[in-house]
């Protein structure tokens, strides 16, 4: 090989081959997943065009759901958010708002708005949690679905566990209280629980999309817009890539390791038998799914996790880098913690596809990827310093990665165009297309940097979520 200006060693050759091999491996896996996702998505949409969700609205056999919404210092928006949860299209459901020791006036607002009084609840907690100060129900019949739990602060996972202990229905839907839900989201989320044929459906999840700059009216999304600010705009594209081109395929393979904490439904019995949400990780959503799957596999119980590609939940993405960094470093910590808790599953045939494919994939491409990129960067700098770098090859390699990233984003746009077409305005489409070109040089380095911060935080033993301030949605 003649890539280097000086006498080269076989080590340098190996290094080049490893970098190239890793890039090819990651790209091929993305393309395979994208292909599977497209197939699954088309089949789903074809099937869904004949589905009448209204049948669930009038049926007493519709799965009974308990919505659990943990709230911490949400005083500014809690009144409207709870109202929107109470007005979803579904009959058999209750809403459990868990006030996780908020320091603001969330509790006072809830008591006043919903005419709450302390109720007489006999709880037999199956999962250990922080102390509950009181459980409230409304005197107003219009809010009979609502239960508000006031508890000592214990974090999101602890609040969700309180909800699991209190929920009266067999299925729980865990949501972020500040998310905007589609009116029919519960109907769509509940349907898979009725479709099990010999396999128990232990969880269902839907697609989460970015709501920055979208117009919200009475707690419902009425106009979809693409953010003007570049950071959230690229996150729109990133979510399209992740949900439309990635998770759908994992759903098809039944190897999904993550159902977004923002909106997912679970079989309560299995969630409790698996031990509920872990308070030892900040990635409690991913960890629970892995543990529930592990529980079913270890007990040889046939099961499935269902995934719905419809955009059911809209959330606000961080608009400034500081918040973004906190979010992504936390995601990385959550991934490391989950993979480390369940390292036994890694390449273990006992855990079937999960152990042989999903967990290794997450380890190699989600957990290790930022580290590998960082090491690559350091070695490249060393090569430059020692005059070892073949610039021609290096620039070609950069262009190779860049062109693939743009190509993959265009596939995501193509997929969105052929399926949900949520961004019909021409300007929005071009904004996203522009984002596809900027993403590899602006957004990707930020995600890698944030992930490295996540590594560092994990090594330093940082715990907790950190403050996550939100800007709020535009209202009509």
């Amino acid at each position: 090989m003649t890539f280097f200006n000086t006498d080269i060693t076989w080590l340098l050759d190996v290094y080049i081959l490893l970098i190239l091999g890793y890039a090819i491996l990651i790209m091929s896996s993305y393309l395979i997943l994208a292909y599977l996702s497209q197939k699954e998505l088309r089949a789903y949409l074809k099937k869904n065009s004949f589905v009448d969700y209204e049948v669930l609205l009038t049926s007493e056999f519709a799965p009974k759901l308990s919505l659990i919404a943990p709230a911490y210092n949400e005083g500014l928006t809690i009144e409207e958010n709870v109202k929107s949860l109470l007005s979803l299209n579904y009959n058999n459901y209750q809403v459990i708002v868990v006030n996780d020791g908020s320091k603001d006036n969330s509790m006072e607002i809830l008591i006043k708005t919903y005419d709450l009084v302390l109720g007489d609840f006999a709880i037999h907690p199956k999962i250990e949690t922080k102390k509950i100060k009181g459980i409230y129900t409304s005197r107003n019949a219009a809010f009979k679905k609502l239960i508000v739990v006031d508890k000592e602060n214990g974090g999101k996972a602890d609040a969700l566990n309180v909800g699991l202990n209190i929920a009266q229905n067999p299925y729980v839907v865990c949501i972020d209280v500040d998310c905007i839900l589609d009116k029919d989201s519960l109907l769509k989320l509940a349907k898979p629980f009725l479709e099990s044929q010999g396999k128990r459906i232990i969880a269902t999840g839907g697609v989460v999309r970015i709501a920055n700059q979208c117009i919200i009216k009475n707690g419902r999304l009425v106009e979809v817009n693409i953010p003007d600010v570049m950071l959230p705009r690229i996150q729109v594209l990133e979510y399209l890539r992740a949900f439309l081109l990635g998770r759908m395929a994992w759903g098809r393979l039944d190897g999904l390791l993550l159902i977004s904490g923002a909106f997912g439904a679970f079989d309560k019995e299995i969630a409790i038998l698996s031990g509920g949400y872990s308070t030892k990780t900040v990635g409690e959503d991913m960890e629970l799914i892995v543990r529930m799957r592990r529980y079913m596999l270890e007990n040889k119980l046939p099961y499935a996790v269902s995934y719905i590609p419809d955009p059911l939940c809209w959330t606000e993405a961080p608009e400034d880098f500081t918040i973004f960094k906190k979010q992504r470093s936390r995601w990385m910590r959550g991934t490391i913690e989950t993979l480390s808790f369940h390292k036994k599953m890694f390449l273990n045939p006992k855990y079937k596809l999960l152990g042989m494919l999903s967990v290794p994939y997450w380890t190699l491409f989600e957990f290790l990827a930022p580290g590998i990129e960082f090491v690559g960067l350091v070695i490249t700098v060393i090569f430059i310093l020692f005059g070892l770098l073949n610039w021609h090859f290096f620039l070609l390699l950069l262009l190779f990665v860049y062109s693939f990233a743009v190509f993959f984003s265009v596939i995501a746009l193509f997929s969105e165009e052929r399926t949900y077409h949520k961004y019909p305005k021409q300007t929005d489409f071009f904004k996203l297309l522009m984002a596809a070109f900027i993403e590899p040089i602006y957004f990707h380095p930020l995600t890698v940097y944030s992930a490295l911060i996540g590594y560092k935080e994990k090594i330093m033993g940082t715990k907790g979520w950190g403050e996550m301030t939100r800007k709020g949605f535009a209202k009509k």
Binding site: M1, I16, K47, F50, V55, F407, F414
Partner: protein, 272 residues
């Protein structure tokens, strides 16, 4: 130089990278063109749909309110030219179905007559014979909406399909057309009838207000426990107290504990 020689010579990386870059750029451009093309097509289609809507509304309101027959409408050459296009017929059928859902009595009958006279019914039968299940479903939905009872046997044959969506669509259509005759064949059904299908069947009974429930009890005799469960749910949801003796018998001779429990719960709901 062929690929293998290139690889063996150890000089493959540069050509590989160059080729891949060209490929990604070209593929991105092709996808971009497809997206733009698809957007333009959709815009044009929507425009045409709006134009058709105006004409279709005019035609159908004359059918409903002025007793104009199809034989008169087809004298309009402009209409006939449009009627030859698939998209126009598609929009016309959709509008017709929506109107039919909103009207009852004489108005509904006039729309049914128009559906038959215009030949749209033939399109529906053609769809029913199509190999693609989604096209079959469309045909079934149309024929059931316009109460074409002659299609019942063909539709019910589709209820035995493996495809669940087709099965549900066909059973629902069968129930709309012939009531319980649309489900008695399920007694011989081997496949699992999942709860989603069951909920759809129950909903069809409620939606189409099927009064005559003769034959529902036959479901309780099936060897397929999911069919038995469907029968029990139907009896409970439709409050068929006349079927209590059949449920009582099932509760004593139930094939398994789950069915026994379900039968007892139905008995309790109907007798308390």
């Amino acid at each position: 130089m062929n690929l293998w020689e290139l690889y063996k010579s150890g000089e493959w990386e540069i050509p590989f990278l160059t080729f891949s870059i060209y490929l990604f750029v070209l593929a991105s451009f092709v996808f971009y063109l497809i997206i733009v093309g698809s957007r333009n097509r959709n815009i044009k289609r929507e425009k045409r749909r709006l134009e058709y809507d105006v004409l279709i509304e005019k035609v159908l309101s004359s059918v409903i309110f002025q007793d104009v027959l199809y034989s008169e409408i087809k004298k309009d050459k402009n209409f006939l030219v449009l009627f030859d296009t698939n998209f126009f017929r598609e929009v016309l059928t959709e509008t017709l179905i929506n109107l039919h859902k909103n009207y009852e009595g004489v108005y509904a009958q006039k729309l049914e007559q128009f559906y038959k006279d215009s030949g749209l019914i033939k399109d529906s039968f053609k769809k029913l014979k199509n190999f693609k299940w989604e096209i079959k479903c469309k045909g079934i939905t149309e024929l059931a909406e316009f109460n074409i009872k002659e299609a019942f046997n063909q539709i019910i044959a589709c209820a035995k399909a493996r495809n669940k969506t087709l099965k549900i669509t066909a059973i629902n259509a069968g129930i709309k057309l012939e009531g319980t005759k649309g489900i008695v064949h399920l007694t011989e059904h081997d496949d699992i009838i999942d709860e989603w299908t069951q909920v759809n069947i129950i909903s069809a009974f409620k939606k189409h207000d099927i009064g005559d429930t003769k034959g529902v009890e036959l479901l309780l005799e099936s060897q397929n426990t999911t069919v038995v469960s469907l029968g029990l749910k139907l009896i409970k949801e439709l409050k068929l107290t006349q079927k209590v003796p059949f449920v009582a018998e099932l509760s004593t001779n139930a094939p398994n504990a789950t069915i026994k429990y379900e039968a007892q719960s139905v008995l309790q709901a109907l007798t308390v």
